[in-house]
């Protein structure tokens, strides 16, 4: 788990300017700044403290993102990992089924929090695709990256109806959603960790 977030932090830091550039034409140009600030702090916290179980790690991640990211993405990412933490509470080992349940609950949580469905050009689009991939079973690192990447790319042709990008209406078309891009990086990090474990 800790490796996942360290890896995710690395990727977010590397792509800070890229994420911000995605947020410029259809947002307020801070998504990279927000995410980098949050994940930096997550990595710091995780390296300083000891955790008794996976749920505690996820809760720390959630609370840190909540308190540091701000904007729309802060509570959304906070919700994702808080829900996961609740689902995985009390478990020492997390098998595929449990992790899938965690992802499902995370998706449900973020949809409810953002009052968003798929197709609205938000990070929900990436999470939905990933959840469906896990539900189908037969999970590989490369398959995960491919599914997440495809979902991210698909947001390009959507018209935003949620978040700041919605004010751009039709003009939001033709730009990848910044939140989908950061979610893609989170899953790319997960795939990297999965590869290393094998």
């Amino acid at each position: 788990m800790i490796e996942w977030f360290n890896k995710a932090n690395e990727k977010i830091q590397e792509n800070k300017a890229y994420l911000t550039s995605l947020d410029q034409p259809i947002g307020d140009g801070d998504h990279g700044i927000n995410m980098a600030r949050g994940f930096q702090e997550v990595a710091g916290k995780l390296s300083e403290n000891d955790y008794t179980d996976i749920s505690a790690i996820l809760k720390e991640v959630a609370m840190t993102l909540l308190a540091k990211v701000g904007g729309a993405s802060g509570p959304l990412y906070g919700t994702v990992f808080l829900k996961m933490s609740m689902t995985l509470k009390g478990r020492d080992v997390v098998d595929g089924t449990a992790f899938t349940k965690g992802l499902e609950d995370a998706l449900a949580g973020v949809k409810q929090r953002g009052k968003a469905e798929t197709g609205e050009k938000t990070l929900v689009d990436v999470w939905q695709a990933v959840v469906e991939y896990f539900q189908a079973g037969n999970i590989t690192a490369d398959g995960l990256v491919e599914v997440a990447a495809r979902a991210k790319e698909r947001t390009k042709d959507m018209v935003a109806t949620k978040g700041r990008a919605a004010y751009f209406k039709e003009k939001s078309k033709g730009h990848i959603d910044p939140g989908s891009a950061s979610s893609y990086l989170v899953f790319e990090a997960l795939a990297d960790v999965m590869k290393e474990k094998h």
Partner: protein, 329 residues
């Protein structure tokens, strides 16, 4: 970027310290946070009023902290919603046992962060209610989208809900009057120039030398159209007519001509002249007019026009005493 600042990443901290240093009898900082609360908070048995959002809209929101208005304002990073933990600190700081009421401008980030804070507070047994302000008629009103933005009309919600809370009203009563204000206030803005978020160092959008944007949001979100600069009369007409179309303002109204930051007050009065003429023409009578900077966008040049339809209750609450430095009555 020409700014009188120290570190672009410390502007909010510095501002909060400078604000509390200016008005020590009225407000205090909640230690370790960017929350500014009334100096006598929590006031027991009074509903606590909390608002806030990204910084850069000064005097909103911290300038409205004071007796008869806000009990606390949460200062986010510039144009970035404050986080739930900060809002939660504000709620705890003003909870006097009668519950806490949140005034939220309708931006996804603000709504999400304030809602999460409300959940944290409720989990600790604090009763929380809220209103979401969405007065910006430049955005189409549709239940399928993010909805309208909250802009300068929010200040009327602060004033009136604040006066209601000060009068000893219950959480439900404060909520009812706040919803009444939200239902009866409409605004629209325009800009001549963009503004620069200190940490970004560059304007988030550009306007040509002869261009203006009608309907722009207070963070530079897109407006309705971008055209050649027109006369003050034409601008006042464009804004006022769109506001009037959206709601039945017959009867009595309060008017707010709000500067976005860099517009000389002279120009706001020139706009006001035309707005008052239009209202007089339509037989709408003006109870009170506010001209000045109430909800700014850093150094953006431009203005917004807000109308609030009044009834006897709203008039009385609008007139009630206020000790907030940016809204003395």
């Amino acid at each position: 970027m020409k700014k009188i600042i120290n570190d672009p990443n410390q502007v909010v901290q510095d501002m909060v310290d400078g604000l509390v240093a200016a008005f020590p009898k009225t407000m205090k900082k909640v230690e370790g946070t960017l929350v500014i609360a009334r100096s006598d908070a929590p006031v027991s048995n009074k509903v606590g009023l909390v608002s806030g959002g990204g910084s850069g809209h000064e005097p909103a929101h911290a300038g409205y902290v004071g007796k008869g208005m806000l009990d606390a304002a949460v200062c986010g990073e510039v144009f970035t919603s404050p986080t739930p933990d900060q809002v939660f600190e504000a709620i705890k700081a003003v909870d006097g046992g009668a519950g806490v009421f949140l005034v939220i401008k309708n931006y996804t980030g603000d709504v999400l962060n304030f809602e999460m804070a409300a959940e944290l507070a409720e989990a600790e047994g604090i009763q929380v209610e809220k209103v979401v302000v969405n007065d910006d008629v430049a955005v189409e009103d549709s239940s399928f989208t993010t909805g309208r933005r909250g802009i300068a009309g929010t200040v009327f919600v602060h004033k009136i809900a604040g006066a209601k809370a000060e009068s000893g009203a219950s959480l439900e009563e404060v909520k009812a009057v706040a919803e009444k204000v939200v239902g009866n206030v409409r605004s629209m803005g325009m800009a001549l120039t963009p503004c620069i978020v200190p940490a970004a160092g560059e304007p988030s959008f550009k306007l040509d030398n002869d261009e203006m944007e009608i309907g722009i949001g207070i963070h530079g979100e897109p407006g309705i159209n971008r055209t050649q600069i027109d006369s003050a009369d034409a601008i006042a007409t464009a804004l006022t007519e769109k506001v009037l179309e959206d709601h039945d303002f017959s009867g009595e109204v309060a008017v707010m001509i709000n500067g976005l930051g860099a517009t000389p007050e002279m120009e706001l009065f020139i706009v006001n002249k035309k707005v008052q003429e239009i209202l007089a023409d339509k037989g709408i009578s003006v109870y009170k007019t506010f001209v000045g900077e109430y909800m700014t966008s850093l150094e953006m040049a431009g203005c917004s026009v807000s109308l609030l339809k009044l009834d006897d209750e709203l008039k009385e609450l609008l007139d009630a005493e206020s000790g907030a430095p940016a809204f003395r009555m």
